[in-house]
């Protein structure tokens, strides 16, 4: 009983020991904050990676792909059995996209993905990153009549900056652009007529040769049925869904700027599946943006209907009408082991032609880097707490020296060495618990208010702490894992107790007579 009483009294009277526990508190708080933010990021990232990639990617090693997705899918289902929840064939091809910005054509490098819009939703959460509510329900690659999200539906409404231009997107924007183009063409025709009136015949020809994309424009329009004029105000090209990063960028203050909107036309060039290689260009109409908030995807991928891409690239066998695919995304049933299915599939298909990866394999280096970062941070921060442990050791030693006489008194009253040791171990334990408890409280509070704190720091320093143009999240994602918090707190308490072992042992071994006579 005296141990508890004296522990309590020492805790309440020795403020110097509380000072030394502050370092433990700060260490614990920092560790909790770092782990929560890292867990938040990792979770957000994995969620999006898995969402975009599906669970397994069955990929042809050839850029031109292989014939007959249906036969492959049947074989996959046969091999993987019940584990498969859904499959969708895709065609991936590197491509060049020409975006018209302010009357200038702006080429950008993209990866064009042909998707089967009927089955793609079953393997990927691609759909939920789209900007039109109807498209999120079911994408059909047709331009919508307005109603695109003005406020990012994935962010909380208060934090996201509204994208006001998006309210014009869709058919109204397309009609408006068509009207502008018509007027511009009209004016051009009028000016050319006046130039012609000045008797300068070759001008028209010069204008055409000055435009390096003239041939591309010609190629794009060659598919149009003969004798019928394409009316951009009422018709659309095949639909394309662009990553929001391809068609826009985010300012450091979190507002988004767009280079184009749903309703605009883009021209895409890619290699045809022929030898010698030919480049083909086709027009597509932007029907939506997707925003997975993984900038790697958002600034690289563009999605078009699978059939259209197969046709445009010459991937359809003219005799049988069967198309080629480059990969099949596979969604597994919950609980199925992606690694086991991957190995089974890899064994069933010749490895020189096919590659099977889990989504973790695909993003292995990224995931490993994040994991490594978390580990290193934890080790470093735990070192800080360990350093704090030495502070506790030193101060405890001084307290034991200061309390030498009291230890002698206790022993003269019959307290055992173990009991005296218990006082100081208990003291270390209670200090550790106070420090770890306060640290956990502080850390959790910090995590709960992390965005407010980031805003405050940004205002104070004039530098954004969490730059939305870099991370694509408006808010810092955090996940508090109770298990991690418990581990950190327990580790800190253990360090405090370990640091008090040496002083406590000294106290326990003090000779009662010498202790009583200690001046």
């Amino acid at each position: 009983m005296y141990k508890l009483l004296l522990c309590w009294r020492y805790l309440r009277t020795r403020y110097i020991a509380l000072v030394c526990i502050i370092s433990v508190t700060l260490g614990v708080a920092t560790m909790i904050v770092v782990n929560s933010v890292m867990a938040g990021f990792t979770h957000e990232m994995q969620d999006r990676l898995n969402g975009m990639l599906g669970d397994l990617i069955f990929r042809s090693r050839s850029l031109d792909g292989v014939l007959d997705a249906d036969a492959h899918m049947a074989k996959i289902r046969e091999v993987a059995g019940d584990a498969v929840a859904g499959m969708s064939p895709t065609v991936h091809v590197p491509a060049l996209m020409y975006l018209t910005v302010g009357g200038e054509l702006m080429p950008r490098q993209i990866t064009l993905v042909g998707i089967d819009e009927k089955t793609y939703a079953s393997v990927s959460s691609f759909g939920k990153y789209l900007q039109h509510p109807e498209n999120r329900r079911q994408l059909d690659f047709s331009l919508r009549d307005g109603g695109y999200d003005v406020v990012d539906h994935q962010a909380d409404a208060a934090a996201a900056k509204p994208r006001s231009v998006m309210k014009n997107a869709g058919w109204p924007w397309r009609r408006y652009k068509a009207m502008l183009n018509r007027e511009r063409a009209e004016q051009e025709r009028l000016s050319q007529r006046s130039v012609a009136a000045d008797a300068q015949p070759p001008v028209e020809q010069t204008v055409h040769t000055q435009n390096p994309f003239q041939s591309i424009a010609a190629a794009g329009s060659e598919r149009e049925p003969e004798g019928r004029e394409f009316d951009p105000a009422s018709e659309q090209h095949p639909g394309i869904v662009l990553g929001i990063g391809i068609c826009g960028f985010r300012m450091p203050d979190g507002t988004d700027q767009f280079l184009g909107l749903p309703g605009d036309d883009v021209k895409i060039s890619y290699p045809l599946s022929v030898l010698p290689v030919k480049i083909a260009s086709h027009d597509y109409t932007v029907v939506d943006f997707y925003e997975s908030k993984m900038s790697e995807y958002d600034s690289n991928f563009a999605f078009v209907p699978l059939k259209v891409l197969q046709q445009n690239r010459g991937l359809i066998d003219p005799e049988t009408g069967v198309g080629k695919f480059t990969s099949i995304q596979i969604k597994l049933k919950p609980g199925a082991s992606a690694e086991a299915v991957r190995d089974r599939l890899q064994n069933a298909f010749p490895a020189q032609f096919y590659q099977v990866n889990t989504w973790r394999d695909e993003q292995g280096p990224l995931l490993a880097a994040v994991h490594m970062e978390t580990m290193v941070l934890n080790v470093l921060l735990f070192m800080i707490i360990a350093v704090a442990g030495f502070g506790i050791l030193a101060i405890f030693y001084m307290i034991v020296v200061e309390k030498t006489r009291d230890i002698g008194i206790l022993k003269s009253l019959g307290a055992s060495g173990g009991g005296v040791m218990g006082i100081f171990l208990g003291y270390g334990l209670s200090l550790g618990m106070v420090g770890a408890g306060a640290g956990a409280g502080l850390g959790l509070l910090f995590v709960a208010k992390i965005n407010e704190i980031a805003d405050l720091l940004a205002r104070a320093t004039g530098q954004p702490v969490f730059d939305p143009s870099v991370y694509y999240f408006y808010r810092i994602p955090t996940i508090v894992e109770p298990f991690t918090v418990a581990w950190i707190a327990a580790g800190a308490v253990a360090i405090a107790v370990l640091a008090s072992v040496l002083p406590a042992r000294r106290a326990a071994r003090l000779h009662p007579v010498r202790a009583l006579r200690y001046e």
């Binding site: 009983m1 009253l413 019959g414």
Partner: protein
């Protein structure tokens, strides 16, 4: 010499019953059974320990009249390579109910002798026995128990714990003896006894004060109350008045005398002051580590 009121049954009406010991009490018998549960268990356990630890024939004092004894006690302190002899063959018997004063100059070893008697230290050679059982070679836990239950100690510098209030200081032996649960269950009993003891030494109004708020005499009175809490059989006093003025010292001596005369408490007191020693029943002189009988 031992004309002391051994039968203290007449004093039971006193505010605190300071362990009246009957002459018929034999060491290790169950005379304690009627007392508090905490006190009753301890002697039996101790007796068991004694029997295993006692070397046969080590101390020829099995008569219960001799309460605390030492035989041929040697003790020296080491200062580097040089041994400084402090006690050089001490033979001493303390009888039950006796008030014994050990007098000697500073450095003659009287405090060391007291520490050896109270098992705070261990002799280089010789033996200390209590109620006929050798105690100096007991294991540490048994000696801790002995100090906690059977010996009360008071010191020249009072040695109260500064973090605890006067009442808590008096309660310290019970706090040490009991676990948290045991103390909690018997807390009112312990508190009542501690308050009674504070009342006995005239400090009940100071129960809540911290030691630093007390005067020297009050601190020593609190220390006496603490020493008496577990109803000890022997009170060991190391210069109890050494730090006090004469009149305060007299108060302390009055309390000690009362405890001895009325309650039959055995007291061994160390002092250098002949006047203080004169209050005791018997005085032994310690000169250069040896006893000089008067």
């Amino acid at each position: 010499m031992s004309n002391l009121p051994l039968d203290a049954s007449a004093t039971v009406t006193a505010p605190v019953c300071l362990r009246p010991r009957r002459a018929s009490d034999l060491p290790g018998d169950d005379a304690d059974a009627g007392e508090t549960a905490a006190a009753a268990v301890a002697p039996r356990k101790l007796a068991e320990r004694y029997s295993s630890a006692t070397a046969p024939g080590a101390v020829p004092t099995r008569t219960y009249a001799v309460h605390l004894a030492c035989r041929n006690l040697f003790k020296s302190y080491r200062k580097g390579a040089i041994g400084i002899p402090v006690l050089q063959g001490i033979d001493l018997d303390v009888h039950k109910g006796e008030f014994l004063a050990i007098v000697g100059q500073s450095g003659c070893g009287k405090s060391t002798l007291l520490h050896l008697l109270g098992t705070l230290d261990q002799p280089d050679a010789g033996a200390v026995s209590f109620e006929g059982h050798r105690i100096d070679d007991l294991p540490a836990t048994a000696r801790d128990l002995l100090r906690n239950r059977h010996f009360g100690m008071i010191f020249q510098f009072y040695h109260l714990l500064p973090e605890l209030s006067t009442l808590e200081n008096v309660l310290a032996p019970a706090l040490i003896a009991e676990g948290a649960l045991g103390y909690w269950l018997r807390r009112s009993q312990h508190r009542r006894r501690a308050l009674d003891l504070l009342n006995l030494v005239g400090l009940s109004h100071r129960a809540k004060h911290k030691p630093r708020e007390l005067s020297g005499g009050e601190m020593q009175r609190a220390a006496i109350a603490r020493a008496l809490l577990s109803r000890p059989k022997v009170l060991l006093a190391d210069e109890p008045t050494g730090n006090l003025d004469r009149s305060t010292g007299e108060q302390i001596m009055h309390i000690l005398g009362e405890l001895n005369r009325r309650d039959g408490l055995t007291i061994v007191m160390v002092t250098h002051d002949p006047w203080i020693a004169g209050q005791a029943d018997r005085t032994v002189h310690l000169v250069e580590g040896r006893i000089q009988r008067t």
